[in-house]
Symmetry: C2
Subunit: 399 residues, 2 copies
Amino acid sequence: MNKLQRTPERYTTAEYEERLVRIRARMEREGFDMLILSDPSNMSWVSGYGGWSFYVHQCVVVGPDGPPVWFGRGQDAQGAYRTVWMQRDRVIGYPDHYVQSTERHPMEYLCARLKDMGWDKGHIGVEMDNYWYSARAHERLTAGLPDATFKDATGFINWQRSVKSEKELDYMRSAARLVERMHRRIAEKVEVGIRKCDLVADIYDAGLRYDDWEGHGGDYPAIVPLLPSGPDAAAPHLTWDDLPMKPDEGTFFEIAGCYQRYHVPLSRTIYLGKPPGHILDAEQAVLEGMEAGLEAARPGNTCEDIAIGFFSALERHGIQKDNRAGYSIGLSYPPDWGERTMSIRRGDRTVLQPGMTFHFMTGLWMDSWGYETTESIAISEEGPPEVFCNIPRKMLIKD
Amino acid sequence: MNKLQRTPERYTTAEYEERLVRIRARMEREGFDMLILSDPSNMSWVSGYGGWSFYVHQCVVVGPDGPPVWFGRGQDAQGAYRTVWMQRDRVIGYPDHYVQSTERHPMEYLCARLKDMGWDKGHIGVEMDNYWYSARAHERLTAGLPDATFKDATGFINWQRSVKSEKELDYMRSAARLVERMHRRIAEKVEVGIRKCDLVADIYDAGLRYDDWEGHGGDYPAIVPLLPSGPDAAAPHLTWDDLPMKPDEGTFFEIAGCYQRYHVPLSRTIYLGKPPGHILDAEQAVLEGMEAGLEAARPGNTCEDIAIGFFSALERHGIQKDNRAGYSIGLSYPPDWGERTMSIRRGDRTVLQPGMTFHFMTGLWMDSWGYETTESIAISEEGPPEVFCNIPRKMLIKD
């Protein structure tokens, strides 16, 4: 364990070591000699690192033997010493003149270090479609390691993360308490005339503050609160402005609680006034679909089964939703609280296993309005799933 | 203007058009026939788009003629209709089964659309070293457009953004009021025993709420608050936990105000107790260096001149700082509030021009402690720069 570590550990060294054994077994089956992980969530799950430094190049290398190696900006090595489970000799910092330079690239420095270690050969897995692995990084890395063969490892670790341990589920249960508190605060505060930015201040307050009953405070979610109103609610990813809320509009609140970087997202819609019939009808369809989907969310079934349950109800009501109805969730860093592995949609035949966790994202974004009522769930040992949150599953109408 | 637009516009159509003329002139000089922009800050500055959707592939294409084209996930086209200055026929949404699929890639869909428009030839600029342009995106794009030649356009638009208009400076002045309020709130609330997460809730509150005197509320900064204490302050990018603050420790608060996506970062250090001599000495050196750097921050001088002023003072005091002392700032989206163009460091000989804006990031991260007192500045027409914030430039000691 690292002597500089002050904050309570997210996982024990035994947990990291056990993960490493599983990772290496799978690497062998899939023909990888080494992995270079750029996704901060994967870096964190494998090494413990968690600083907000993903705006410069960094990675964790799982080499042919021994603990992983953290690689990043020199000044962030100090953050690594304080958060990773490996010893100092497994932390490599690159000099600052490699940062945002047009002449030098951090991957060149990495290549030199990998050569020093004799890790410049064989089949190297890189996360080709990850935000934090740019086209340039790939170009420099492949040019710098001519004796290696590169293979795509996008999602390799993400898939390892899909079944949660009991400890991880407990972190998510704590995140659920936070997002419940956030929704209760919204329900209490929202009214015609309140400014969006002020409501967001309340949402952060409810998601962060230490609560004596909980025994802990919150962390920053990987996505900021999304709360578009009226016709803007047709757009799923608009954030907020500083204008007052208007009467006779629906607003969805798509937010997550975050504890130990584990996320539990939950969306609810609030209507300030009398909701029109088409929104009430849509709600009826969504709630029916959710019942059917939750019923199907059992071990042995597939992601597609949840989707079929949900979409069939929508279709009976004549509603078309042309996007997926959810995704795997867990440990995450910006820009996304999804795990980018399973999707709740037709064609995804992944078999559900106990401990898999999903945001059952049943939002509707139509041409001139939107509606979101969602649940986050964990697949149980048998029967229907654990629903993480206890917030009434319906639109809140404040007339 | 787009009829669906509800919120006040960040820029006028005339401003966008004028930018486009400047961009095209420079494209011609540098031999680009087309630009594919993946950086959300660049997308926003060129098109107006600003949803939190950068976790899926999206871009803005500056083609050979006409207004730019927005390309993104089908459901986010609704967000584009509401925020971009172009008409609907310049917005292309891709179907949802391209999202996080192992079989299809959004860039394949883009290639097909570019072919439809006859935009599949010539020299295409792509942002090779941007977070949002992955190795896989580049691979699919180049494979899908065999008649085009690809050239690196990393920083092309960022450089266009470096000199701010009076309106942009005004947005930054508003952001400065917000970060001042955040620091005043911290100074008021911080004490031994207060939990970090609770203090962060207060920081968000101060940075977001509508203020009658200001006439507006805040937006989310591109980086979350950084506030490590004691030995952890040696690490510049650790965030927070839910533990109480301890006596006899220094904590730096690196935060930014954000208005209309324009950022003004400002850091201050607070010591709970009697600061040890080495931290007081360091402060003396930093303040002297800042005076010298600010004195050098005038039009006609270079970024390096600011750095030399600052680092010379540090060296006189025997303090070594082996990282840069600042960077260009302005419009930004996560993960970084820097513009990734100019750096305040030796070797950066960019000539300073009126309207350029910087975070003069003079933080020290030593082996077992850290200290940050910084300023954000705008280069003036003549003489020393405009210092955006009015917060005492020294450590706050609460004994």
